[in-house]
């Protein structure tokens, strides 16, 4: 039986989504995306550098079979995020947008007030909105009510590699959500990704965790396996946690007794 990730009107076999930033070269990025077996990748929208000539376009470096998810990275106001989303749609000719409205430069935590406003506007304009937000169940519910196609609570600050900082909140968010929950930001190594999936979330999005690793291609493979392992473990039904031992072998028939 297929266990696809379904967001809005599309289904994905892969529950791992990757970014395109911070790679040491476009070759490494391409190899890492292959190793991760992602089907969707995020890209940022930026002013063309009119002074630079001869540099290739990111679109030429990406595997053309991958779905491009424009993001509004770097936007600090609802208006900028809305404008960026509209430009991203025109550039990519896709209705999907990963919405980010940042509230703080150091932590890159979202400005949820502006995020909600931007979500409402963009949903009305027909976008399929995937908002990046905190591990705050109240905000996630509001985003879902505002029409978001998924919610993307962070595990920890972008690029921090700290893993899931608040497991309990992530579980609560998943329990109450009617749209897919994708942990976005903070994944540092394979076990972080596996843990996220074991908590029951629908997918994991990461950029720095792969791109910033010593061997990005190897880490991409590790993350792919971790997401799969975590998902299998979740669906398999783990044993309960117990304070004391629970012997695995029968108590009778031991020699010398």
């Amino acid at each position: 039986m297929q266990d696809d990730l379904v967001i809005a009107n599309r289904s994905f076999r892969s529950r791992l989504i990757a970014g395109t930033g911070k790679y040491s070269s476009s070759e490494i990025m391409r190899l890492a995306h292959d190793a991760a077996e992602v089907e969707m990748i995020t890209v940022a929208v930026r002013r063309v550098d009119l002074g630079a000539r001869g540099s290739g376009s990111l679109l030429d470096a990406i595997d053309p079979r991958l779905m491009i998810l424009p993001n509004t990275a770097g936007c600090y106001t609802a208006l900028d995020a809305i404008r960026t989303a509209r430009l991203g749609r025109e550039n990519g000719l896709s209705e999907w947008v990963k919405l980010e409205v940042i509230g703080d430069e150091r932590t890159l935590f979202p400005d949820n007030e502006a995020l909600l406003e931007a979500t409402r506007v963009l949903v009305k304009e027909g976008f399929i909105v995937l908002p990046y937000t905190n591990d705050d169940p109240v905000v996630c519910r509001k985003l879902e009510d505002a029409g978001a196609a998924a919610v993307m609570p962070l595990g920890a600050p972008i690029g921090s590699g700290l893993g899931i900082q608040n497991r309990n909140n992530i579980v609560i968010i998943k329990e109450q959500a009617s749209v897919p929950v994708i942990v976005d930001a903070g994944v540092g190594t394979a076990s972080d990704a596996a843990l996220a999936m074991e908590l029951g979330v629908d997918g994991v999005l990461m950029n720095t965790g792969i791109a910033g690793a010593g061997d990005a291609v190897a880490m991409a493979e590790a993350m792919k396996l971790a997401v799969r392992a975590g998902r299998l473990a979740y669906r398999a039904g783990r044993i309960p946690r117990k304070r004391y031992a629970s012997a695995s072998s029968p108590l009778e028939g031991v020699i010398g007794g």
């Binding site: 470096a61 509209r86 749609r89």
Partner: protein, 75 residues
């Protein structure tokens, strides 16, 4: 004729279409998106949209963030 292009003042000899501007900037229209006075210009309207004095134009493309990308070498 003065406009603002990507946040900087820019001089144009005369009004021209978005298509013509992109050509002048040596940009592939399929690789960029254009905003004129806070409104996205549809690609299908590039030929018909004329840039005028005082316009604020933003020309953007997709990037990975960080290093600029070179196309993969042809194999």
């Amino acid at each position: 004729m003065k406009i603002r292009l990507n946040g900087e003042p820019h001089e144009l000899a005369h009004p021209l279409t978005v298509t013509a501007l992109l050509t002048e900037l040596d940009l592939d229209p399929r690789r960029v998106a254009v905003e004129r006075n806070l409104t996205v210009v549809r690609r299908s309207d590039y030929e018909a949209t004329v840039i005028e004095e005082g316009d604020e134009i933003e020309v953007v493309n997709f990037v990975g963030g960080g290093a600029r990308y070179r196309s993969l070498p042809k194999s």
